[in-house]
């Protein structure tokens, strides 16, 4: 179920503004790839091109190629809706559907796929909540609204919702930036468990987090404000944090930049 992502020559625009320029990289299956870089360097934009969420924004368009194994996500006739059904996403701020119960939140994706048999839904909801390390905390109140949970629990609920549909890839856009350290730790542990089943890409501003959770790290940078973001380098996380091949990467991770 985990697939490889192969990006070549990807450029993304907001209207006439070029947000990221000519990015190529490979994301290995069953591994965690972290994107780091200063604000505005386009790492979130790049993440959103991987499940065709970028084009949802007004004026958003993309040039280049994103291959999921041998399927071209931007190929002619590819429906962005079906792309998003195979590539899950977790956002910066926990965003469970406030009008739905915990159960319905997790089942939402399955119901979109046309699964309505209660027995199957029950099974997947339990498996996904267990997978997100949330089951023990919520199993007695599955019919309560998801908005009643704490921030960290809500984020794990969102992860459960994303993995319920067994996606090929899980994209995480700064999933811990709105959480306290303990909730952050819970999510990081979870990422470690999930990578045996999914291809995970995580954007983070926290370099220790990138070092802790990821196998590969990509460093993005931009020449100046208003210039498009570029991929500086991607390598094994250990190497990026000990002996990166580009000076700019070392400056950034050691705090010498600007």
């Amino acid at each position: 179920m985990a697939k490889r992502i192969d990006v070549s020559g990807l450029t993304a625009y907001y209207g006439n503004f070029r947000a990221i320029d000519d990015i190529s990289m490979t994301v290995e299956p069953r591994s965690v790839t972290a994107f780091i870089g200063p604000s505005g360097c386009g790492k979130s934009t790049f993440l959103r091109t991987l499940n065709r969420m970028h084009e949802v924004t007004a004026g958003g368009r993309v040039e280049g190629k994103v291959m999921l194994d041998d399927e071209d996500l931007y190929g002619p006739g590819v429906d962005p809706v079906s792309v998003r059904r195979t590539i899950g996403m977790v956002f910066q701020r926990p965003n469970p559907f406030p009008t739905m119960s915990i159960y319905d939140n997790v089942a939402a994706g399955l119901r979109l796929n046309g699964e309505h048999r209660k027995k199957d839904l029950d099974e997947v909801v339990e498996r996904s909540l267990k997978g997100a390390n949330l089951w023990n905390e919520v199993k007695d109140r599955l019919n309560r609204p998801g908005s009643g949970l704490s921030g960290g629990q809500q984020q794990r609920l969102c992860i459960a919702r994303a993995i319920a549909v067994e996606p090929q890839v899980l994209l995480m856009d700064e999933p811990c930036s709105a959480l306290d350290p303990i909730s952050t730790l819970a999510i990081e542990d979870l990422i470690g468990e999930l990578k045996s089943r999914f291809t995970i890409v995580i954007v983070t501003h926290n370099m220790q987090q990138a070092a802790r959770v990821s196998d590969r790290t990509a460093f993005f940078n931009l020449a100046e404000v208003g210039a498009p973001g570029k991929l500086v380098e991607i390598d094994d996380t250990e190497r990026i944090f000990s002996n990166p091949s580009v000076q700019a990467t070392e400056d950034y991770i050691s705090g010498r930049f600007g």
Binding site: M53, M100, G148
Partner: protein
């Protein structure tokens, strides 16, 4: 707050105020503002109380003199001795015409609002919004004239059609004649409340959190599924409020109804037959010729309208409150 302004920004009125006096001025300003806002609040309560006391007092006079059964009688002859008046026909006409208006207007309004907020390209959405606003600015007497001179003659075709297919229900039986019925009134009211329901709903839909819309999109929802999963649940209480605003207008609408309806003190099984009446229309039609007791009787009917409106609002609040836990406002 008491930061000294740089001398460059000091106007010709004088040097910048010293921190101490600026603080004093703020406090004085606070006091004035507190007085003003408290005064406005009290004034509102006094006005409400004055209206309620006036209505109840005059209504009580009339109802105690009434020889017919006020709530259930079909008669209205307030100037007779003894006076006889019952509001059954008016209550029926008011409620039925407003329900017809709601049934017709709310789905259309929600559709237009969703189209403007989530489907239409900006180039189309903005002018469409203006047109809707324009519809709200048309005076009700103009709607009445248009209804009487255009809508009534043009509805006979629809009436015949309804009679042909739904006449067996008795509700839609049509026996010819001018279409000056409660149904026509309902259609006209629907057009009149369309703008307010649309505008309020549109604002609510527009504010639906992007976060939840993206959550639905990322799960692979189509545009309609995004609307169903995140926009409509978020907007539910707003749409209810909008509908209640519209209902309030429909219940109280006077001139348009009075111009279109051919009133009679009869309740008919068919909505398409001319006749019936509404509270507001009856007051407008009867107030000038009514004597002292007649006026009090009309005021009593006005009180009933007031109570109906209060009940409707209360019911709406109840619906909204019961869904509060799941409301999008908690997000």
């Amino acid at each position: 707050m008491a930061i000294e302004t740089p001398s460059a920004t000091a106007g010709p009125t004088g040097p910048p105020a010293s921190p101490a006096s600026a603080k004093g001025a703020t406090r004085k300003g606070d006091r004035i503002f507190l007085g003003l806002s408290r005064g406005s609040g009290i004034t509102l309560l006094v006005i409400m109380a004055a209206i309620a006391v006036f209505l109840t007092w005059r209504a009580a006079l009339a109802i105690s003199a009434d020889e017919a059964s006020f709530l259930t009688s079909f008669e209205w002859d307030a100037n007779a001795t003894p006076p006889r008046f019952g509001i059954a026909v008016l209550a029926f006409g008011t409620v039925v015409s407003s329900i017809i208006a709601m049934v017709l207007a709310v789905p259309v309004a929600v559709g237009i609002a969703l189209f403007i907020s989530h489907y239409a390209p900006r180039k189309l959405a903005t002018p469409l919004g203006y047109v809707i606003d324009l519809l709200a600015a048309v005076p009700s007497i103009v709607y009445g004239l248009w209804g009487a001179l255009f809508l009534v003659p043009h509805l006979t075709g629809l009436y015949t059609w309804l009679d042909e297919y739904l006449g067996w229900t008795h509700i839609f039986r049509y026996e010819g004649g001018a279409a000056r019925s409660l149904f026509t009134v309902g259609i006209l009211l629907a057009i009149m409340i369309l703008p307010i329901v649309t505008n309020v709903s549109r604002e609510v839909f527009r504010q639906s959190p992007k976060m939840q819309e993206e959550a639905a999109l990322a799960l692979g929802a189509t545009r309609w599924e995004v609307i169903r999963m995140s926009v409509l649940p978020f907007g539910r209480s707003g749409v209810i409020s909008a509908s209640m605003l519209g209902l309030g207008r429909a219940l109280g609408e006077t001139m348009a109804v009075a111009t279109v309806l051919s009133p009679s003190f009869l309740i008919k099984a068919s909505l398409l037959q001319p006749g019936g009446g509404t509270f507001a229309q009856n007051i407008a039609a009867g107030f000038k010729e009514a004597g002292g007791m007649g006026r009090d009787a009309l005021i009593a009917s006005g009180l009933v309208l007031f109570v109906i409106t209060l009940l409707v609002n209360g019911a709406a609040r109840l619906i909204i409150a019961r869904r509060k836990e799941y409301s999008g406002a908690n997000a």
